[in-house]
């Protein structure tokens, strides 16, 4: 057989599975042992697989009554000491917004998965979109920040779920895996390394005794440690603005220092968090900036452009948030135009435009969702941007 299962129930080897299943296996490999969800297309296969696999590895999946309950339950489990996941798609993601902000405010290490489908509202349940990209950044109220990752294949659904848990634990923050329906439902080869080759990010547990410990006191990297539960540490966790002990302090100074630190915690560590992939950009006149399933279509368009002598290259966002601002600004200084295809009516293109700051043209190739772009449409936009029409 191509794959094997260890005595601890861990899968490894070569599998032919879809992105949803790969995400579930990535969570298990990362050490996640709690998931909650309210099944919703096209993310259902993730929780189906977890419901089947978790009992074999000592994990728990709970189907909750709705997405508010699912997300707050997963947050509770994370505080209980278990790596936790909550899974949904557009309509459910809207319901999870309040708790996404709560997780950011309380610095809860947790992973959310949004398998994006056409919206708004119930929209296109079985068809793709990438239209929640600004929602994940701005959808909860207040000045919150999260990390968002964009896989473009089942293999990356596996790899990035592990990365999402690493980042969540390392930076005590919610991390959102922004999948899309195509990536979730397409089946491809996924190679899972042996369990001993997969590193599981441990929780940041304080070495201080209970009397010296403060739950929100940052270390040098601006991230506070957590404490074990049931070991004499008395802690207080609240969504209200709080001091380093976690107690509400509702004044300007406390708000300023907390909210600025939550922002800086991600921005100052961007070197470890933010990833992108550059291809064929050395001599490129036109760059295509894309992410998720669209990046594969964009790469096809880049190859077609090269075949007809148009020097094009690709800049693929692996991390959508924090946005790789400096890299995009540097790119904008080198190319004539950045073309941004995405399955929405123009979201990340706004960020690309902001980062480019007028150094080059930034062109949106929008799509309302329900299918992927034709490579020819992206190619046409590249030709036009290069003045070859």
């Amino acid at each position: 057989m191509s794959a094997s299962v260890s005595d601890k129930g861990l899968l490894s080897g070569r599998l032919f599975i879809d992105g949803d299943h790969a995400c579930a296996e990535g969570a298990i490999a990362a050490g996640c042992r709690f998931a909650a969800g309210y099944p919703i297309t096209p993310s259902t296969e993730i929780v189906e697989r977890l419901a089947l696999r978790f009992p074999l590895v000592g994990g728990t999946f709970i189907q909750m009554e709705d997405e508010l309950a699912a997300s707050i339950t997963a947050i509770g489990a994370a505080w209980g000491g278990t790596k936790s996941l909550c899974v949904t798609s557009g309509p459910g993601f809207s319901l999870m917004m309040e708790n996404l902000g709560y997780a950011a405010m309380t610095e809860t290490p947790i992973v959310f998965v949004d398998v994006q489908r056409g919206g708004p509202s119930t929209g296109l349940p079985t068809l793709p979109a990438q239209a929640d990209m600004m929602q994940v950044r701005w959808g909860s109220h207040g000045d919150f920040r999260v990390i968002a990752l964009c896989p473009s294949s089942p293999q990356e659904c596996f790899d990035m779920t592990i990365e999402a848990f690493r980042l969540a634990e390392r930076y005590r923050t919610p991390v959102v895996l922004m999948m899309d329906e195509v990536v979730g439902h397409m089946t491809e080869r996924v190679v899972i390394p042996p369990p001993e080759e997969i590193s599981q990010e441990p929780r940041r547990i304080t070495r201080r005794p209970p009397e010296d410990f403060r739950l929100f006191e940052p270390r040098d990297d601006l991230v506070p440690d957590m404490c074990p539960l049931g070991k004499g540490y008395n802690i207080h966790v609240t969504g209200l603005t709080h001091d380093e002990r976690g107690y509400p302090v509702l004044n300007v100074a406390s708000q300023d220092s907390l909210i600025r630190r939550l922002k800086d915690k991600l921005l100052c560590n961007a070197g470890d968090i933010v990833r992108w992939e550059a291809r064929d950009l050395e001599d490129a006149e036109i760059a295509v900036l894309s992410y998720g399933i669209t990046s594969r279509i964009a790469q096809r368009a880049v190859e077609m452009a090269r075949a007809e002598g148009l020097c094009a290259g690709s800049f693929r966002l692996l991390t959508a948030w924090p946005f790789p601002e400096e890299a995009v600004r540097a790119l904008a200084g080198k190319v004539k135009a950045i073309v941004v295809p995405e399955l929405n009516l123009g979201q990340m293109v706004i960020e690309a435009e902001r980062a480019a700051a007028g150094r080059c043209a930034v062109v949106s190739v929008d799509h309302a969702g329900g299918a992927v772009h034709s490579p020819e449409v992206i190619l046409d936009a590249m030709r036009a941007a290069a003045g070859r029409r």
Partner: protein, 186 residues
């Protein structure tokens, strides 16, 4: 090289998706090629039109959908009616003779039929018709190797049904090979 594009169409319950799964698994895990499977089906689980799209390539696949299939496998008249216009010039139709009348197929396209439903009934289990089709596909198209297909079958079907499914696979394979030899090759 451009991807080889395969579309399998039929009704929910005929094992269309599993057939695509076996073909993709054989190519990507055992023939060491790249393969992508996309499944599309109606909200109804049984009896509704469904299709599987499989791409096979020697290099990583970028665009994951079948745009104009080189090989179309149809297991229902509806699937034939819906998908046969998509077949590219020079393309090949494979069909279940018991379910599909390929009248009206564009001239210039080759077609190969297999009595998959009758074969499956002769084995006592109508559900194995998709394995007959996979065997037939393996013989006619040569896109996946027999060894890879056999491994993929063993990894895909429920273990208790492996012997029966293997017999079904072999019936389809033998029928395909005989058809090819009668016609003097592909």
């Amino acid at each position: 090289m451009a991807s080889r594009e395969i579309k399998i169409g039929g009704l929910g319950g005929q094992g269309v998706i599993m057939a695509g799964m076996i073909i993709g698994r054989a190519a990507s895990l055992h023939d060491d090629k790249y393969a992508t499977l996309i499944q599309a089906f109606g909200p109804e689980a049984r009896g509704a039109a469904c299709n599987a799209q499989v791409l096979i390539d020697d290099t990583p696949i970028l665009y994951p959908y079948v745009r104009s299939p080189e090989f179309l496998v149809t297991l229902s008249q509806d699937a034939f009616r819906l998908f046969s216009p998509e077949l590219r010039d020079g393309g090949v139709l494979l069909f279940d003779e018991d379910m599909v009348d390929p009248a009206g197929l564009r001239p210039g396209l080759r077609k190969f039929g297999v009595p998959a439903t009758r074969f499956a009934e002769s084995l006592g289990r109508k559900q194995v018709l998709n394995l007959i089709v996979v065997g037939f596909f393996t013989a006619i198209t040569g896109l996946i190797s027999e060894a890879a297909a056999r491994k993929a079958v063993a990894e895909t079907v429920p273990p208790s049904t492996l012997a029966l499914n293997t017999r079904a696979f072999e019936m389809g394979l033998a029928h395909g090979r005989q058809l090819l030899s009668e016609r003097g090759g592909f």
